[in-house]
Amino acid sequence: MLKIDNLKVSVGGNEILKGLSLDVPAGEVHAIMGPNGSGKSTLSYTIAGRDDYEANSGEVLLNGDPLFEMDANERAAKGLFLSFQHPMEIPGVQTMTFIRTALNAQRKARGEEDISAADFIKLVREKAKLVGLDDQKLKRQFNVGFSGGEKKRMEMLQMAMFEPHFAIMDETDSGLDIDALKMVGDVVNALRGPERGFLVITHYQRLLDYIKPDAVHVLAGGQIVKSGGPELAIELEKSGYEQFIEAA
């Protein structure tokens, strides 16, 4: 599903990712854990196609399609979703209008019809309930004045709406309380299926109580330094990252 091969990425002249390889097969959830500054956000931005995050070498394939040949919006239309660590506030843009515009842009790129206004309202209400955002929040400007937790709920709302093939969740758990963590788990678990994959980037094992990963990888110094099963996350929680920082 998502295949990363020997990826090297520099940002502002500094090499952050130093030959990272990773394979997430369809139907699986992989977690990436690692200390601050290990390149976790660089990895998610590079996969999603942010300017200034260009690979020096290596490639990333989504279902066999090379992502680096596509613009960020084309990757989104291919079913790639990034839940941002720090979601943007966009003043002057109505939430409902924005989500509908985005959904239709993706559908159009895939040669599908626009969603009807009635179907959209029905869908957005249903998903808003799932992520615990009340209707009043949907009537506001996008994320404007939202708390950190509400912004993460808005990310999960969009993920639930877009039903991506592959989602990268960049520290979605940071700043969330237990109820919200459970909600994130519910959204991911509802979407899990043989045709979907997830890459869950996190500092802590806590989120993985709600989303059982198929594999856990440790990212340190711009490379995957260790991979294992869910037990690796528990081990890291106890022993910390120090051993890997030294190793990297």
Partner: protein
């Protein structure tokens, strides 16, 4: 040669002189105004208030032609609002071809005499000296006009023309005025709008300038606002060779409110200037001012806003915000917010920012599926939308929003 002749006149100044001398009659006010103009001459960048809108240089080689051709006038984007429509064809007044609604009087009047506070404004003096007639409109007491009044400025010649409008909004009346500046000509157009808003009256003005790239426009609105009255104005300009909209709002009596909002959308080498001076001369008045300028290519946005607060004008509450968005490295924004306050118990504030599109926001939108172009358009629309959203009338607001979207789609 008379004493009013200037030294080394440009072709344009010679033409102004000929136009002035060819008037069939010249009254004292006009003679005095022309005399002041010849002293002041066309404003240039060395004059503080004109440093970013240099009419003298812009018009140095302007050769006025006398080629007024009345082109067929197209539809207005406001037609569906069923306005009471006036037209000023290069300043020549055409009244509506219908009966006057109750409580509205209009006609062609003698031109306005000098407006004292504009005595140092060279272009205002020139307008007084050269405008032949004035469109006069009066809204009677307690009249709540349910149709907007549309004044279409149709600029077709490549010479110069001077137009005037005088309006009186009587006590407790309500009216919505729309003004459009239209035409693709390369001419110079000057409009002087003299307005009185009487006690308890509410005056809303919406201005849309969509003239050609070579047009030069200077439009002044001088408003006297009496007690418990409201003056709300929203202007949208796509600029021209040099387009300057001046608003001079004066609060003469307490408890009145003004909103003076503007936005510019500038491409190519277009230039728009929104200059205003709000004089608070009585206590308990409130002013809100919001300007949003967007410039791409080599577009130039100018905003100059001044709040003057007289010693007697205690409890004045005035806020001004000007934000510019530059979409290219060669675009330009020049802002000058200014406060001159003599009262000690007031709340006055101003803020000004100039920036580029937020890259984080752009990437966020693209990650959600919008192309770079769509993402940019959405962000610019949202930026300017703050001004449009303040237009109270929903149908009118929608026309302005459509004009913004048309501009965005034209890139």
């Amino acid at each position: 040669m008379s004493k009013t002749n200037v030294e080394n006149p440009t072709a344009l100044e010679t033409a102004f002189d000929a136009a002035f001398k060819s008037r069939s009659s010249i009254n004292e006010a006009q003679a005095a105004a022309y005399d002041r103009f010849t002293q002041l001459r066309l404003p240039n960048r060395r004059i503080e208030n004109w440093k970013w809108s240099d009419f003298a240089t812009t018009l140095r080689n302007f050769e006025p032609a006398n080629d007024v051709t009345e082109l067929p006038v197209g539809a207005s984007p406001f037609d569906h609002l069923k306005p009471l429509e006036f037209r000023l064809y290069d300043g020549r007044i055409e009244l509506p071809h219908e009966d006057m609604p109750d409580g509205v009087r209009y006609g062609i009047m003698d031109a306005v005499a000098t407006i004292p506070e504009l005595e140092n404004n060279a272009l205002a003096n020139l307008n007084v000296a050269l405008a032949r007639k004035s469109l006069g409109i009066e809204i009677g007491e307690n009249v709540q006009l349910d149709r907007p009044i549309l004044i279409r400025h149709i600029i077709s010649g490549s010479g110069f023309s001077f137009a005037q409008t005088m309006m009186r909004i009587s006590a407790n009346a309500r009216v919505q005025i729309i003004e459009t500046y239209e035409g693709q000509s390369a001419g110079l157009y000057s409009h002087l709008f003299h307005l009185v808003v009487r006690d308890e009256a509410k005056f809303n003005r919406a201005v849309l300038q969509q003239t050609g790239p070579e047009n030069t426009t200077h439009a002044i609105c001088a408003a006297k606002i009496e007690g418990n009255a409201e003056f709300n104005q929203t202007s949208l300009s796509t600029g021209g060779r040099l387009c300057r909209h001046e608003t001079h709002a004066h609060f003469w009596s307490p408890n009145s409110k003004a909103t003076i909002n503007s936005a510019s959308l500038l491409s190519d080498e277009r230039h728009a200037d929104f200059t205003s001076e709000t004089r608070h001369l009585a206590p308990h008045c409130q002013t809100r001012q919001l300007h949003k300028g967007v410039a791409r290519n080599r577009g130039r946005n100018v905003f100059q806003g001044k709040f003057y607060v007289e010693r007697e004008a205690q409890k004045t509450d005035a806020k001004m915000t000007a934000n510019a968005l530059l979409l290219s490295d060669t675009a330009e924004a020049n802002h000058k917010p200014e406060l001159e306050i003599y009262a000690d118990d007031v709340e006055c504030a101003h803020g000004s920012t100039v920036g580029a599109l937020d890259k984080d926001a752009l990437f966020y939108l693209q990650q959600r599926g919008l192309s770079e172009e769509e993402a940019r358009a959405l962000l610019v629309d949202a930026f300017v939308g703050e001004v449009m959203s303040e237009i109270a009338d929903e149908k009118l607001r929608s026309v302005f929003e459509t004009q913004v979207q048309n501009w965005l789609a034209s890139s």
